[in-house]
């Protein structure tokens, strides 16, 4: 027993790998939230009048909303008036290409293992790097534009492709959708925009890498992905933040639009700072992600590996509007120490012969609380809708909690909905068996957990899968004792 305690001690004191921060001169909005700040952000970004009006409308709506409290999480409320809503690294002039970006900023990403230098990049992944409130650079833009693919920062899209932004912004997640979505709509600063024209299969993975660096600053980014008829894209998202004592807010909105026969795969490896082992600090991750399968035979697939954040509140969802459209949600959510996660999905079947599949794997350790919350809704005219849901929970130790809240709402008698759920504990027997073959307890836990999460990890692009496996092991190190 004493040996286990020692391992526990050693490993839980292991520091969050990305917990450093960099000092750079920043261009910041004054602290606080009001119409003036929104005007300030919009002016800073040289936005058109329609967008400013859109923001102000969202702000008005938000002022009449209250923070949701139905999630199975508890945390001290954030004073939204004490936050800063815009912070950007100061650059002498706007860089026209990556070569002009301040090398110091590029170094931040290099330290995170993300190389923004195209020449050096071997693997076919285009990256948009978002630091605090702005995008610092996007790679492979030229290569992609030859195919008609638009991949750029959200601000740039507002300037260069206003008609597309205007058409799709808020079309999947309306500004009135919920408290955090409304807040995001009012103050969002940057994010990524991606447009795949008709008939084009995007030849490389597109990815956004979010990094919060500044203190007391909220990150409110927006991602908008549009796939026209027969288009295909696989999109990746990664996130880290410095280690800080106070809680930081991240309230993003992601919207996906899939037209006829289009397919969008969206993968996230979320590794925001989870707070220290006593539950101090960490990111509040309150995110709205939704996709619409607007066209017939379209498909949207969400895959997420959630290991970070102090509190996660996130339900990537699919509206299956087109006939024969397919929605998928694959999730691994890990909580350790004092982390809390309330995550799941909504599958809304509207079209005929629509199918959805939900695979959720929760892993709780330490004193954490991990909840799956999911809704399957079959509308009246959604003949022959199919859903399969599988929600598994794995518990490590006896001080954590796993909860499942499935909601099923069926309005068409031809629907077939299946729900399977299991709860298990990492068995002493499994650990002893591994030990007896010479495998250390730490490696045994990693092996067992990766096996448990395999069905989800298999959905990730190769490179991300390896990263995710390491992250799972790292998050859970020292959690058996």
């Amino acid at each position: 027993m004493s040996k286990d305690n020692q391992i526990l001690e050693e490993l839980t004191s292991k520091e969050y790998e990305h917990g450093w921060s960099v000092n750079y001169e920043a261009d910041e909005a004054p602290i606080g939230l009001n119409e003036e700040i929104i005007n300030w952000i919009s002016a800073k970004k040289e936005e058109p009048q329609w967008l400013l009006e859109w923001r102000l409308k969202a702000f008005k709506t938000w002022q009449n909303m209250t923070e949701p409290e139905w999630a199975n999480v508890t945390y001290p409320k954030i004073d939204l008036q004490s936050l800063r809503y815009y912070s950007a690294p100061k650059q002498d002039k706007k860089p026209k290409s990556l070569d002009e970006v301040d090398p110091e900023l590029l170094q931040i990403y290099e330290r995170l293992g993300i190389n923004l230098n195209e020449q050096k990049k071997l693997q076919g992944i285009a990256v948009d790097a978002v630091l605090d409130s702005v995008s610092v650079g996007t790679t492979f833009k030229a290569t992609l534009s030859k195919l008609g693919i638009i991949f750029c920062s959200f601000s740039e899209a507002v300037k260069e492709h206003p008609e597309l932004v205007k058409k799709y912004l808020g079309s999947v997640v309306p500004m009135t959708d919920n408290y955090y979505a409304a807040l995001n709509s009012a103050v969002f600063s940057d994010g990524s925009f991606c447009y795949i024209p008709k008939g084009v299969r995007c030849p490389m993975e597109l990815s956004t890498y979010f990094r919060i660096n500044a203190a007391n600053t909220g990150q409110f980014e927006r991602t908008l992905i549009v796939a026209e008829d027969e288009a295909y894209v696989s999109y990746l998202e990664g996130c880290t933040a410095p280690q800080r004592d106070e809680n930081q807010l991240h309230a993003a909105v992601v919207e996906i639009y899939a037209a006829k026969n289009a397919e969008v795969k969206y993968s996230t490896v979320q590794n925001w700072f989870p707070g220290d082992k006593n539950g101090k600090g960490g990111i509040y991750n309150f995110v709205t992600k939704r996709g619409i399968c607007a066209g017939d035979h379209s498909k949207i697939s969400w895959t997420q590996v959630e290991t970070g954040s102090a509190v996660t509140w996130k339900y990537p969802s699919c509206i299956l509007k087109g006939d024969h459209s397919i929605g998928e949600f694959y999730s691994v959510a890990v909580t350790n120490n004092y982390q809390q996660a309330d995550t799941g999905t909504k599958m809304i079947h509207i079209g005929k012969n629509t199918k959805s599949r939900i695979v959720s794997k929760g892993i709780s350790a330490g004193k954490s609380q991990n909840s799956y919350r999911g809704q399957v809704q079959v509308m009246k005219r959604a003949d022959n809708a199919r859903n399969f849901s599988q929600c598994d929970s794995l518990l490590m130790g006896d001080r954590c909690g796993a909860h499942t809240f499935p909601y099923i709402d069926i309005n068409n008698s031809s629907a077939k909905v299946e729900h399977e759920a299991t709860t298990s504990k990492i068995g002493e027997d499994q650990l002893f068996y591994c030990n007896q073959r010479g495998i250390s307890t730490e490696d045994a836990v990693a092996l067992i957990v990766n096996g448990y999460a395999k069905e989800v990890l298999n959905q990730l692009p190769m490179e991300f899968a390896v990263e995710a496996q390491k992250l799972l092991a790292l998050t859970l190190e020292g959690s058996v004792g």
């Binding site: 027993m1 040996k3 068995g427 002493e428 027997d429 499994q430 002893f432 068996y433 591994c434 030990n435 007896q436 073959r437 010479g438 495998i439 250390s440 307890t441 490696d443 092996l447 067992i448 990766n450 096996g451 448990y452 999460a453 395999k454 069905e455």
Partner: protein
């Protein structure tokens, strides 16, 4: 190689082993027999280091080291292998992946280089023949959905891969039909050498027709009450355990 002196062990305060003495030398095969509840499997578990059992007295030295002082994984790395009576399932982890992790951790402990994928597969192919195991089985989740016979064969296959110096087979014959018993025993016999030793824990004599022991010990109420050669096993098969129980129990009442 293995010396057990006056070993006492209990589980949740109940004594199970009450003074075991045993000496196993390289090249030997020892059979531990005895009626249900005599402590056979406990002995196997205590040697492998299962935590539920508390050693209350006695000592065990293995190749000159204090075995009881080592963590279970280090005992394995030193060369102690336990073929489980009930092999454990690990969903989503293939036998191949599991074994590669195990083999390389053992090698690292012994100061050997890790095997790369090619070398590992070559070794696997070679050892697979020993227990006539199918490659398909090895790409499936470890022990999940395996038949009783497949699980036991997989145990012996793992033993072949890890090349232990002391193998403890805990009721490896239970749940095996005659063919599987022959295959498993053949595997064990082929792995025998003058440098390693085997302890066979079993209920029945029939396994010992295939794996011929040099010594047979009868365990009863947590003690070795009788030792002999393979003839003792035949005698037990014929007469059952009652005559031994009676002899021990009457001695105790005197």
């Amino acid at each position: 190689m293995l010396t057990i002196k006056n070993l006492h062990a209990s589980i949740e305060g109940t004594p199970i082993l009450r003074g075991i003495n045993l000496e196993v030398k390289a090249g030997e095969v020892h059979a531990i027999m005895g009626p249900n509840g005599s402590g056979k499997s406990t002995l196997a578990s205590v040697l492998a280091g299962r935590e539920e059992y508390e050693v209350t007295e006695g000592e065990v030295s293995f190749k000159g080291k204090d075995l009881l002082d080592l963590a279970p994984e280090d005992r394995a790395r030193e060369g102690v292998f336990l073929a489980f009576q009930y092999p454990v399932e690990i969903p989503g982890v293939s036998s191949t992946n599991f074994l590669r992790t195990a083999v390389n951790q053992v090698r690292e402990y012994r100061g050997l280089e890790a095997l790369d994928a090619v070398k590992f597969l070559t070794m696997m192919k070679e050892k697979m023949k020993l227990v006539e195991i199918d490659q398909k089985l090895l790409s499936r989740s470890l022990n999940e959905g395996f038949s009783g016979g497949e699980k036991k064969r997989n145990e012996i296959f793992q033993m072949a891969m890890l090349e232990p110096t002391l193998s403890i087979l805990d009721e490896t014959d239970s749940g095996l039909d005659i063919d599987a018993l022959r295959i498993v025993s053949n595997g064990v016999n082929q792995l025998k050498s003058k440098d390693n030793a085997t302890i066979v824990v079993t209920h029945y004599q029939r396994l010992l027709d295939y794996i011929v022991p040099d010594y047979v010990h009868v365990l009863y109420k947590g003690k070795i009450v009788k030792s002999g050669t393979k003839e003792l096993a035949l005698e037990l098969e014929e007469k059952g355990y009652d005559w031994i129980k009676e002899a021990v129990d009457s001695e105790a009442t005197v």
